[in-house]
């Protein structure tokens, strides 16, 4: 028994006993193992773990998994609100939405909306995170104020913006008139002119997303050891070189996360477009989520709505895949 001379008596015993039946026939034989976690007491019951875990699992299954599966299912059917008929129609829904000009416009708008908003959010988030990194008097208050749009309920904030951008009561118009930039009798219709409406929608969405991106980028910036930008300063790098060749490349993993979340939040956002313009004027701000809502819920064509929504899934999966890969590669590099 030269090999076994260092094993504990318990282990030697377990080795002799048939492995499975020992545990089942004599629960007592498992006892030494369990006494290790006795301080947690309740953990002795395997049911408890399941019970503690269940709410989270049920929440995900019932409120996310089930609707998701249902949407996929509807996308291949002819489901309509108010109809008790349901047939499998294959790819028919997809074929018809891809051919619809409204869908193509919505897809194009969604991409513009997402890309432009992401660029603005990233640039502003970066500027703010640089400004907020070094301590100054009142930094806590400024950080709090910058975070406010993120913690305010999205619908309330957007309704506020609807008034700010209103055709008659807009304070922006009022200010511009007062400053003499705008003719009082033909003021800009912030939400009623094609280009302006898209710009307004993007602006409000950025207002909402910038705090989130600032916080993420601030965390990424703080994680850079301070000797590295210092070494760059000694090596002779100025502000821009340090930013673009040292700090930002080192922040790529966290930038990837910010872009990933920002893209998903923007691409799937319904509230801002729905409340501000509901896609108008003339579908110029129509995005895929709002189009799906209009078709599926308001237009009673559940199947079309589901197909439009399902169309978002592969797009987002591809974006997520590339972003995570980028983040991972930067991490191991």
């Amino acid at each position: 028994m030269g090999v076994n001379q260092y094993t504990s008596p318990d282990a030697a015993e377990a080795e002799k006993a048939p492995p499975v039946s020992a545990g089942l026939d004599k629960p007592g034989s498992l006892k030494p193992k369990w006494t290790k976690v006795q301080s947690i007491g309740a953990a002795q019951s395997p049911l408890l773990g399941t019970a503690m875990f269940a709410p989270a699992a049920l929440y995900i299954l019932l409120l996310i998994g089930l609707p998701f599966a249902l949407a996929i299912f509807y996308a291949f059917s002819d489901a309509r609100i108010g109809s008790n008929q349901l047939h499998f129609v294959g790819l028919e829904n997809f074929r018809s939405i891809v051919q619809s000009p409204s869908f193509r416009l919505a897809l194009r708008n969604s991409i513009i909306f997402t890309v432009v908003a992401q660029i603005i959010v990233l640039v502003s988030g970066n500027i703010l995170s640089i400004a907020l990194e070094k301590p100054f008097r009142g930094r806590g208050l400024v950080r709090f104020l910058i975070l406010l749009p993120w913690v305010a309920p999205v619908s309330l904030g957007t309704i506020g913006w609807k008034w700010i951008l209103d055709s008659i009561y807009s304070v922006i118009t009022w200010l511009l008139v007062w400053l003499g930039f705008v003719n009082k009798y033909s003021p800009p219709m912030w939400l009623g002119q094609e280009g302006l409406a898209m710009a307004s929608v993007i602006m409000v969405h950025c207002w909402r997303l910038i705090p989130f991106s600032t916080v993420i980028l601030l965390a990424g910036r703080t994680a850079i050891p301070k000797e590295i930008p210092e070494a760059a300063a000694i090596d002779g790098a100025g502000f821009w070189r340090t930013l673009f060749q040292i700090n930002l490349p080192m922040m790529i993993p966290i930038l990837g996360v910010a872009v990933l979340f920002g893209t998903i939040f923007t691409f799937t956002d319904l509230a801002v477009v729905n409340i501000l313009t509901n896609g108008g004027p003339y579908d110029s701000t129509q995005t895929l989520p709002n189009y799906a809502f209009n078709q599926g819920i308001q237009g009673s064509d559940l199947a079309a709505g589901a197909a439009i929504s399902a169309f978002l899934v592969p797009v987002l999966v591809v974006i997520a895949y590339f972003m995570l890969r980028l983040a991972h590669r930067a991490e191991v590099a």
């Binding site: 590295i228 070494a231 000694i234 002779g236 100025g238």
Partner: protein, 345 residues
């Protein structure tokens, strides 16, 4: 190459509090290897960072090559610095790390390759140029940091505890390498460390700092043999200098000068020494114990002896210190004073 000078240099981080660096005046020699030595919190790194331009002095002046540089950016000071953590750019290859200062200072692109290869070969890292910093060992990283520092041929080198991240064995060889490196390039170098052995071994001169004040600025030999005050006396040397109070003086003697009375032929002061603990360190003994009799009854002292004799703890021996090795400090100021005759009995 250049001379670095500070005049009444002071840094106060929080108003009303004691400064991290207070009224420091020092001038290096051309091509000197100067060491800032002190315990943590002594202000040595703050002093270095002010010279580098990473901290703004509260008061005083910094001169590099005879020119006041207080208002110049680190870049304009033409200095190079190696950080304790090396601060290599993790996303760049070794080649790009070393080339970064050249790029940042707009050295013509055609010269980059030649200069990087020169610096890399000087430090023996020519084979590592395509690696990323994370693929290097501690010693290799240190060399890359040094290569990045010399590539632009700076006028002054600043090194902030560059050996403290290496293990003990590597530290010794890296130290020798640094010394050889300095002899070869001959640039004025300021080296910060808390390790007295490094300071003694490498420094042409040592600035001993404590609480932001220069306690002594002298060669390693002077600092060790003739400490300016009790702080310097106890900070250098391992085990530190024995200090015993006698009247209005503090008398100090190094453990290696405290030996068996019979081995000292010259004028000496005799003590009865009761050994309480014996440490055998291979090449030497460290004896700790107390003095007996006279005015110094019960004072704790340490002796360091070469091998050759055995000592028992609990036994009383006749020990002595040669008179010329006694150091005298004023009891109230703790500063060095003139030797004088004392009553010992």
């Amino acid at each position: 190459m250049a001379v670095v000078e500070t005049r009444k240099l002071t840094k106060v981080f929080k108003e009303g509090e004691l400064g991290a660096v207070n009224d420091v005046d020092l001038v290096t020699h051309e091509g000197e290897f100067l060491v800032f030595l002190g315990p943590s919190g002594s202000g040595k790194t703050t002093l270095l960072r002010m010279i580098a331009g990473l901290e703004t002095p509260t008061a005083g002046e910094i001169l590099i090559g005879g020119k006041v540089v207080n208002d110049l950016t680190p870049r304009e000071r033409r200095i190079a610095m190696v950080f304790q953590s090396y601060a290599l750019y993790p996303h760049l290859t070794v080649y790009k790390n070393i080339a970064f200062p050249l790029k940042a200072q707009n050295v013509p692109r055609a010269l980059h390759k030649e200069k990087v290869e020169w610096a890399a070969s000087l430090l023996g890292i020519g084979a590592l140029l395509q690696r990323k910093p994370r693929e290097l060992s501690g010693g290799e990283r240190q060399r890359v940091a040094l290569a990045r520092a010399i590539v632009r041929e700076p006028s002054v080198f600043l090194l902030d505890e560059p050996l403290s991240n290496l293990d003990a064995k590597l530290r010794l060889s890296a130290r020798e390498e640094l010394e050889r490196f300095h002899r070869r390039i001959g640039t004025t170098t300021i080296y910060v460390t808390h390790d007295q052995v490094e300071a003694m071994a490498m420094g042409d001169r040592i600035v001993v700092l404590n609480k932001g004040v220069v306690r002594q600025f002298a060669t390693p030999k002077e600092v060790y043999d003739d400490p300016a005050d009790t702080f310097v006396a106890t900070f250098l040397g391992s085990p530190p200098m024995n200090l015993v109070e006698n009247g209005d003086l503090i008398v100090g003697f190094r453990p290696e000068h405290f030996r068996l009375a019979e081995t000292i032929p010259e004028n000496k002061i005799n003590f009865k020494f009761r050994v309480e603990n014996v440490e055998y360190l291979g090449a030497e003994y460290i004896l700790s114990g107390v003095l007996l009799g006279g005015r110094l009854e019960g004072k704790k002292v340490v002796a360091r002896l070469l091998l050759g004799q055995t000592f028992e703890s609990g036994t009383i021996y006749d020990f002595a210190v040669p008179e010329r090795h006694l150091k005298f400090f004023d009891r109230s100021t703790e500063k060095k004073t003139e030797a004088r005759a004392l009553a010992w009995a």
